[in-house]
Symmetry: C2
Subunit: 235 residues, 2 copies
Amino acid sequence: MSGVLFGLGLGPGDPDLVTIKAATIMREIPVIAYVTPVRSGKPCTSFARSIAEPYLIGEKEEITIAIEMLDDPTRGRQVYDEVSDKISYYLDSGRNVAVLCEGDPLLYGSFMYILDRIKDSYKVLTVPGVSSLSAAAAAANLPLVTRHQTISLIPATLSESKIRTCLLKGDSIAILKLGKNIVKIKKILSDLGRSYDAVYVERASMMNQKILSLSDAPDNAPYFSIILLTCAETE
Amino acid sequence: MSGVLFGLGLGPGDPDLVTIKAATIMREIPVIAYVTPVRSGKPCTSFARSIAEPYLIGEKEEITIAIEMLDDPTRGRQVYDEVSDKISYYLDSGRNVAVLCEGDPLLYGSFMYILDRIKDSYKVLTVPGVSSLSAAAAAANLPLVTRHQTISLIPATLSESKIRTCLLKGDSIAILKLGKNIVKIKKILSDLGRSYDAVYVERASMMNQKILSLSDAPDNAPYFSIILLTCAETE
């Protein structure tokens, strides 16, 4: 009988924000796979594996997903094809495999590329995780959205005109994938007169978490940072 | 020294989707507070407390937040004022208090009404939880959003014209707070020719979870249901 593929959401960074379910699966699973970012040809620490570390009991087979931090879909496709082949090999041998995912696997997560390749041939169980959005709001004690309001998540990688359009129409907004794009976002929010209600949260839930006003935010924000513009009504 | 108020996200329903952090706090906390919905004058089971049940070890003081299922902000204000007074009493005596919250406390959660009343006088720590959005996507193995896409969460309680506008502009959409409003949503999606790509998920992560096409969804959906319209690109 074939093994099962688990997509495990591990939350925003604090290992205590792993769910009981993900922790239990990690203790028992024989094979784990996780992204190892590659920068300038060198593999970096896997953030997902570092969150999982306290729960990885005993010997595991490990599959690394070495992804160059370039926006090159062709290379990405090749890596996910190869990784999916490796995962299929273990599933065929009857062993279960867990893909370790930062945050929630299906919200801007790369797990979907493996899911897409595996789901028609094997059983896949996705375990949802705490998102960086929820963690950022919790860090700042900032209600995201309430009652009859909407909230939109937008990536800072979008064009200036698209971001402007999103900002003009929504109720609450969360801007993700900041990096160097934060400079563009600062300019847009300043133009729209909305800098004052923007809160910048960096590495929510981690030891080096920071909560800053937008003017104090760096011009090259880490990937694990988020800008919140919320307008929740309390009663 | 005053106690600390914890806003504990308990996830979408499966007690195994509680985080290690929330479970640890619940084992030790002396006082818990939770919403008990009141229908036709009768208190119903607290969903939050039922998720927490396996983790409530030993004697606890319990504060119920009895909320009539009517959209009456005045009555809501009075209940939250009274509950916040009770919580303050315990905090003043040096005891920690946890508000048990379904899903994530700050995403359409009523915790914000207590947070708003308490945060200027006491220390508040919010523990983020797995949202029903992430749980619905996981149940259906459906990528929510990827790369340069946006996702908007919209409550079905909005007016038909507002919902139509949201649906015309966004990439991925999740529609929450369905109830009887699902009839309106079905009509709008049918008019816009988008019924075919809508997935209905009821009670994600629970024993009685259902994943249905929109045409098979009931006309009076439970509160814990969600419609997903996603357009994630895989590579």
